[in-house]
Symmetry: C2
Subunit: 242 residues, 2 copies
């Protein structure tokens, strides 16, 4: 898909110019990183969804955990607004919950934060698609966990791990079959399933029984880890590297 | 090992009566749950280690993230003190970092918090024993992630996932060979390795380049998740169940 075509289709959905850019940039980053399930294919998917392209999120309370409400805005735009607010802030550690869906590939958001010098942990829930490794109906989402680690001396480290072998986006992009949406790990699939359960419960504890996110972000006390690990790993590909 | 024998050996290491109980309870819980690497075998291991049994941790600062220092106290005792402080508090969400090692099986701590009505996420770093799935020297710890989800209607859900197939404790207990300390997941081992990298960087961002913990704990806004999942999973064994 050509950039101008992609932007035109997003604009035709009713998004303002700034949101068109935010969305295009997210999908295009996914496309370039080979995460095709979160890439341009999502534009066609959005065209099949009902949502209010003019909705705006808002921060509603703050008592240890800051709560944001999407008020109907797409998850991508909710996270864009939250990340912008974090980067514009003083850098002290913040814990933020929101109802937000869909949120794309979470590595994108923690990379943005890491590139601004913030360490960040981000998780998000999604529709129940993961069953218990012993069988039964889908119980929890594929619930990725992303961690961005800033690196003043070079490239940050960007972890973004889905608890499933394949994700719904992979199916949208024609890259996986529905039966591959199972907890990863083979004989240790109970570990990935357990992580998906824990992250789902954690997010719902703060955002309620809705698809949501939990973000922890702040300026680190110590920011040597990424550079030290890059040196010690001597050229091995580290999480988030292209 | 008989309880009186275990307690006597802990007392002989110089611990006061309260710490003997805290330690014995942790090791005995691990033993009963079949986590033998964190069980009674750790008493013999402690007898080979150098530490100050009278050292006490202290909270040193609080600005979004609360910082605690072990001041030489064993990690078990640092976490016991922190959990006690959390349970005694008002319930608002707290983020706590500390240098703390060893900390045992993290499920024990988040279960205690969940049983007091707190949702908790806890991770801890350990000596580098996990190599990159493509090879090379050990780069990061086996870095477990634990999440405790309270359940006012019954048993909490207690997630406790190590990023390795086997842990150092399993070797201490004679239950695994050193070559089994590799990232779990087989063909998807890069996912478990990435999580271990991310969690290590996250902890070091706040605790510095020491073995440490990061704990997020507070009273949940919504506490339906555990009961709902137990109902929907219709008798399947959920994380933390014996």
């Amino acid at each position: 898909m050509k950039p101008e075509g992609a932007r035109a289709r997003l604009a035709a959905l009713g998004f303002g110019a700034r949101d068109v850019e935010l969305l295009f940039e997210h999908f295009d980053d996914a496309e370039r990183r080979g995460k095709l399930g979160h890439g341009h294919a999502r534009i066609g998917w959005l065209e099949t969804q009902a949502f209010d392209p003019q909705a705006r999120p808002a921060q509603t309370s703050s008592d240890g955990v800051e709560r944001w409400e999407s008020r109907g805005a797409l998850g991508y735009l909710v996270l864009a607004e939250i990340c912008e607010d974090v980067v514009a802030g003083a850098g002290s550690v913040r814990l933020i919950s929101a109802d937000a869906f869909p949120t794309g590939h979470l590595g994108y958001w923690v990379r943005r934060l890491a590139e601004s010098g913030f360490v960040a942990l981000l998780t998000a829930t999604s529709p129940p698609r993961l069953a218990h490794p012993d069988g039964g109906e889908p119980l929890v989402g594929t619930n990725p966990l992303a961690i961005g680690l800033p690196n003043p001396a070079g490239e940050p480290i960007v972890v973004d791990v889905s608890m499933a072998k394949a994700n719904y986006g992979d199916i949208l992009a024609g890259r996986a079959r529905p039966e591959e949406i199972v907890a990863f790990g083979g004989e240790h699939a109970h570990k990935a399933f357990a992580l998906a359960v824990g992250l789902q419960g954690l997010v719902e504890s703060f955002a309620g029984e809705r698809h949501g996110i939990l973000l922890l972000a702040g300026k680190p006390e110590s920011d040597h880890f990424a550079a030290t690990l890059r040196e010690r790993s001597a050229g091995l590909r580290l999480p988030g590297d292209s």
